[in-house]
């Protein structure tokens, strides 16, 4: 579902990412971006999400070279094909749960489907919380809303950044299961960036990233 070709990225004079080989992922696969903090996991995740143009190489998603698109087209492409769960969730605080999910429809330029949103909230055990504001929800509920928002547009790619950090074993397992089942339901490729060793077994593919390398002067 995605293909990375020679992707590398440089911040100033720091080489933060260097993937020499071709990497190709298929639908329904589960990928882990693994490495210690500061190894460029988030950078790679942003690059795959179309949020950060890499210094070198190309990113293909569903046969589309996303960095060949104009920025506006790429924004729309991302909205419709890629769901992202950020570590901090970034739920919009001034909108209700329902509005946060409808926002995903609206910003991606697809029809706003209230029925689908309600049904999703019900499956995630959030029925009755549609009109609550994010600040009124527990951490776990917020995380479920963030996941729901990421898959509400039936993306082909579901990205999650450090979804288990700071969670105990049970909670961490629950979140991972939810991500896996949500991805399977919409037949999306799951990509999780994490330094958490507890979860490595749940993935069938792994990209291991090392410490950053200083560029030779």
């Amino acid at each position: 579902m995605f293909a990375l070709k020679h992707v590398g990225h440089v911040y100033g004079s720091r080489l933060v990412l260097d993937l020499p080989e071709h990497i190709e992922a298929n639908p329904d696969e589960k990928w882990l971006l693994h490495g210690p903090s500061g190894s460029g996991k988030t950078t790679l995740l942003h690059i795959i999400a179309g949020l950060l143009k890499p210094s070198q190489g190309s990113v293909h998603i569903a046969e589309q070279d996303i960095y060949a698109l104009t920025e506006t087209d790429r924004d729309r492409f991302r909205g419709q094909r890629i769901g992202i769960v950020f570590q901090q969730f970034y739920l919009l605080p001034v909108f209700t749960v329902l509005e946060n999910l409808l926002m995903a429809h609206y910003m991606a330029g697809v029809p706003q489907d209230k029925a689908r949103v309600q049904q999703m909230l019900a499956t995630l055990g959030l029925a009755g919380r549609e009109h609550a504001y994010p600040s009124e929800l527990s951490f776990g509920q917020q995380q479920r809303v963030a996941i729901a928002r990421a898959v509400v547009n039936r993306p082909q790619l579901l990205l999650a950044d450090e979804p288990t950090s700071g969670l105990d074993d049970t909670r961490s397992k629950q979140v991972l299961d939810l991500l896996v089942s949500s991805a399977r339901e919409v037949q999306a490729t799951l990509v999780v960036a994490s330094h958490d060793h507890r979860i490595t077994d749940s993935f069938d593919h792994c990209i291991t990233l090392d410490e950053q390398v200083e560029l030779p002067a």
Partner: protein, 424 residues
Amino acid sequence: MNLFKISLAYIYRRKLNTLLNMVLLGLGTGIVVVLLLFGKQFEENLYRNVQDIDVVVGAKGSPLQLILSSVFHVDVPTGNIPLLEARKLAKNRAVARAIPLALGDNYRGYRIVGTTSEYAKHYRAELVDGTFWDAPYQVVIGAQVASVTGLAIGDEVISSHGLTAETASDKHESQPFRVVGVLQPTGSIIDRLLLTSVETVWLVHEPHAEEGDEQDRHLESHADEDRARDVLGLPMDSEADAEREVTSLLIRYRSPIAAVSFPRYVNKETKFQAASPAFETTRLFALLGVGLEVVRVFGGVLVFAAALSIFVALYNAMKDRRYDLAMMRALGASRGKLFVQVLLEGVLLTLMGTGLGFVLGHASTEVIGAWVREAQHINLTGWIILPDEFWLIGLALVLGSVSALIPALQVYRTDVAQTLVEVS
């Protein structure tokens, strides 16, 4: 979800700040609206009074004073002109119509104007009750005089010498007037006057009048007869005419060409002066305009402060909102969409403030209007909308967009990935 809803949600989120901006802008535009309404209606009132009066001829002196005394009835006359001379002027080829005025008395501060029924016709003041005078000592009262003093047909009016209640010296108690007619409201100066015949004013002021001498009776006895009338519509009396005077003549030209030649003739060739009401009113308005200008600038300063305040509010809001904005981008929103959203927020804020200003402006004009309607010459109302106000809305929209422009550009330029790693 749509941009409108999103903008309103964020505006609502900053209730206090929004309130501050609305009040600032509301006060600013409110002041401008009051000025527009006030200025326009004041001007209209002034010009309604001078309508169709091309020139006023009276005794020499200040032309503004002549207009103020003979048209607006707020100043003392410059003096009188002999009736015989007045007749000559009225017969001038340039003159289509001349209405004589004889001033000198008041009733409780309302002026008594000796004139002909032409004067009421000129202001299109129809009688709502009674008739016009057909004998001396009969008066027809303006609508405001009737409503404020409570005078009605048949009531006696004891006039005082002088033009205002304060300066009035002695009362003409032996010669009460009788109300014979009441005029409809016109919104012009005539609402505040008591009209009578010129003969009445002569009788009141002639030296022997108080004893009711021969001449007095002579005039009275002829009241109902078809006596010879002059060009001004005044009775001809070969013996007395040489002594008689009127205060001024309100003149309408036969053709516009006279506007150049007639005043020059009057001012150069006679002992009188000719003053143009339109010109003097414009001059008066220009004098008052300075004061209005100061208030207008003050309103402008408030509007500017409001714009600045909206700019600061949005600028800070965008800082607080940078993760929201980055998330919207992640959800698929383009830079352009977010730019428009922020701009819309600024425009909505200014529209809300301007809306408040309109309500404040119209309401306070109406309140001021209700207050001065009784006391002043001005019929002021808040319940009209002027074309200029639409300009003001346009201006507010521009202002809103401009104050939102920098915050919106900032949002447009923001790098999403950069913003998202800031906290990661």
